[in-house]
């Protein structure tokens, strides 16, 4: 894989294993994230796509510092993130969770929720300054000032998510991890939040790691897309190339499974990539490629040997034996 000197975040061979007891004396692990390497450039929106159980949230939480990696490293602006993170790092990496209903404290007002990061990261701020900043944050996410005095329970789901985004913005972060921020919301609300996120990204020169299972959404926001399957990256490519020429059989299956609303989109679906099989349990994975049981093009080699990432085009990497000779088939 190429390395990008402008990378704000560099994930190198990251592994996250969770012990789940022993079987026949052998310790068993769920390999939630297994040997993932990904660079994110400053000002970029990288989309991380995967089905449930693919390890996308675990990866996000590791970047946010909520899990300790089992192996590999995460570098932020060239500095390795160790066990203890300084306040300055915590300040610049923020996360927005999927369900705003449970990520906002129901006992606090929006004012208190937005004030907390300010109290921690800018203790010198006076009460008046904080109040001004809270109003400013609410303005950024297009909520009226009066919402300061409301509790999360009294506002709608979309508005709650906007408040959660405002909280993430409170510390002036440079990297924001968005873990399915709109998947609990209706499309009409989603459109509004996504457009706001894109505007904020431009205005504040933010970098987003955007996690979702919705590829249509990804197409419209991400500059680069990474596909995660059973804890491993299968394909990384610039969004345009990714949707025009998906290479990995799993990516093709994913794209062809999406229900779409126009013939123009229908034409983008790869033919002969109909969905079959199910995602296997991440415990005791079969040897070889994790996808071989569902793959129409699997060969004997796929059953015994796990492929490695190889470049097949400009910034386009695929982990599949079909591309081992370097040919961009």
């Amino acid at each position: 894989m190429q390395t990008d000197p402008a990378a704000i975040l560099r994930i190198k061979n990251l592994k996250l294993y969770f012990p789940i007891g022993r079987k026949h004396g052998e310790p068993q692990y769920v390999k939630a994230v297994d040997d993932v390497s990904l660079d994110i450039a400053k000002g970029e929106i990288v989309g991380l796509v995967g089905e449930s159980g693919s390890g996308k949230s675990t990866l996000a939480y590791a970047v946010a510092g909520m899990f300790q990696p089992t192996g590999g490293s995460i570098l932020y602006e060239g500095r390795e993130l160790g066990k203890k993170r300084g306040l300055d790092i915590k300040k610049s990496i923020q996360i927005v969770f999927q369900d705003p209903g449970s990520s906002l404290n129901p006992q606090h007002t929006i004012q208190q929720i937005l004030e907390l990061p300010l109290k921690i990261h800018q203790p010198q701020m006076t009460k008046q300054d904080r109040e001004r900043r809270v109003k400013e944050l609410l303005n950024m996410v297009e909520l009226p000032d009066s919402y300061r005095f409301k509790s999360p329970a009294s506002i709608g789901g979309g508005e709650k998510q906007m408040a959660a985004i405002a909280r993430a913005l409170a510390t002036d972060p440079r990297l924001i991890i968005l873990d399915e921020p709109t998947s609990a919301l209706d499309v009409s609300i989603q459109a509004k939040i996504i457009n706001m996120l894109l505007k904020l990204q431009q205005q504040n020169h933010l970098t987003y790691l955007f996690i979702t299972h919705d590829l249509s959404l990804m197409r419209n926001i991400a500059g680069r897309v990474a596909i995660l399957y059973l804890g491993k990256l299968d394909e990384v490519a610039p969004a345009e190339d990714f949707f025009r020429h998906p290479r990995h059989p799993y990516t093709q299956m994913l794209i062809s499974s999406i229900p779409v609303i126009s013939d123009e989109e229908e034409a983008l679906k790869p033919a002969r990539a109909e969905s079959q099989g199910e995602i296997p349990s991440p415990v005791n994975l079969p040897p070889g490629c994790g996808f071989h049981q569902r793959c129409r093009q699997a060969t004997g080699r796929c059953r015994s040997e796990d492929p490695v990432m190889r470049p097949v085009g400009e910034g386009h990497d695929v982990r599949c034996h079909l591309f081992d000779d370097g040919a961009g088939a």
């Binding site: 459109a191 419209n220 969905s275």
Partner: protein, 333 residues
């Protein structure tokens, strides 16, 4: 009235006919006026999509067809639900039981919640065979055959093994297939599927939809597909009813809705959906659904509508024909 009097459709006999249905839930401060003039009809072999966002009354409509909302929780101030010419709302318990066990089946959104965790798949399905009006008495062997056939029909290999599984031993996609198997095990004329793929991953959802579609076609059943996704409705249905705040705002053959949407809500919904072909996401629809306790007196979409005028505030529009076979409830088309 008999179903024969209704004007003939391409697919023949009209089996379900909901007319101006209003359904209010009893809440502590009076009534939540949820369903407001739902008119919908389904013919034999027809696949109908009921599309709308959270809280628009899709599931309430489905439940009212089966009569499974507890009686003390609601009132129906107006409207009829004719099933094969008989009004479901005025059926007695025995007739209603007949409809539920022999005429209409339903698949729910959450397969994990629809299956009983303490009985095996086989035990639960045997129950359905026994109590359905077509179970043919106490012949256990015959019931077992029906169950195994149904499991085979949803493309699960090795039905004998699955028969002895508990639901928690199955993946989400498998559970949903079992629910479909239960719904098609005995002959039914109408299937109601309430977001059957929403809780599943997109690749599994595609498989479930394919199975459902094949079975409904093969058995010539009518299907009501409830979904929040216009894409799902486009793939699976012949005609689409778009619901907003308890009202059917637009209804048309599926292709028409996408080619020439007429109601501002449908247009907004289509604009807000992210496209696989890119091009960014257009603006969404501002605001949220009205409070059902005191809904707007006029058009229920008026507070969020960009085209709304004075008339929309005062008067509720009734469905008008935008084109032949394409109706929308809006004054400003």
């Amino acid at each position: 009235m008999s179903s024969g009097e209704v004007n003939g459709e391409v697919n023949g006999e009209r089996i379900l006919d909901i007319r101006n249905l209003k359904l209010w839930y009893k809440v502590y401060k009076g009534y939540a006026r949820v369903l407001n003039d739902v008119t919908l009809s389904v013919s034999r072999g027809e696949k109908v999509g009921l599309v709308g966002e959270t809280g628009c009354g899709k599931t309430t409509t489905a439940k009212s067809i089966l009569g499974i909302i507890p009686e003390h929780q609601y009132v129906v101030p107006e409207g009829e639900i004719y099933y094969k010419g008989k009004d479901i709302l005025r059926m007695n318990a025995k007739e209603l039981g007949q409809v539920r066990s022999g005429e209409i089946s339903m698949i729910y959104q959450e397969p994990a919640a629809a299956l009983n965790p303490v009985f095996t798949v086989g035990q639960q399905m045997m129950d359905v065979a026994r109590y359905s009006s077509q179970g043919a008495g106490k012949n256990r062997k015959r019931h077992r055959e029906m169950v195994l056939d149904a499991i085979r029909d949803v493309f699960i290999p090795d039905p004998e093994r699955i028969f002895h599984f508990y639901p928690n031993q199955l993946s989400g996609g498998m559970k949903q297939r079992i629910c479909i198997a239960m719904a098609i095990m005995t002959r039914r004329d109408l299937m109601i599927a309430d977001e059957p793929g929403t809780a599943l991953d997109v690749t599994i959802q595609a498989q479930v939809h394919k199975i459902l579609n094949e079975l409904v076609n093969r058995r010539h059943m009518a299907l009501i597909m409830i979904t929040h996704s216009l894409g799902v409705a486009r793939e699976l249905t012949d005609s689409i009813y778009v619901m907003y705040a308890g009202t059917v705002v637009e209804s048309a053959p599926s292709a028409e809705i996408f080619r020439r949407p007429a109601h501002p809500y449908t247009i907004g919904l289509l604009a807000a959906a992210p496209r696989l072909s890119g091009g960014g996401i257009q603006s969404g629809i501002y605001g949220s659904i009205p409070d059902y306790g005191s809904p707007p007196p006029g058009c229920r979409f008026e507070p969020r509508c960009s085209r709304a005028g004075a008339r929309c505030k005062a008067e509720a529009p009734s469905p008008r024909e935008a084109e032949p076979g394409h109706q929308a409830a809006c004054f400003n088309m």
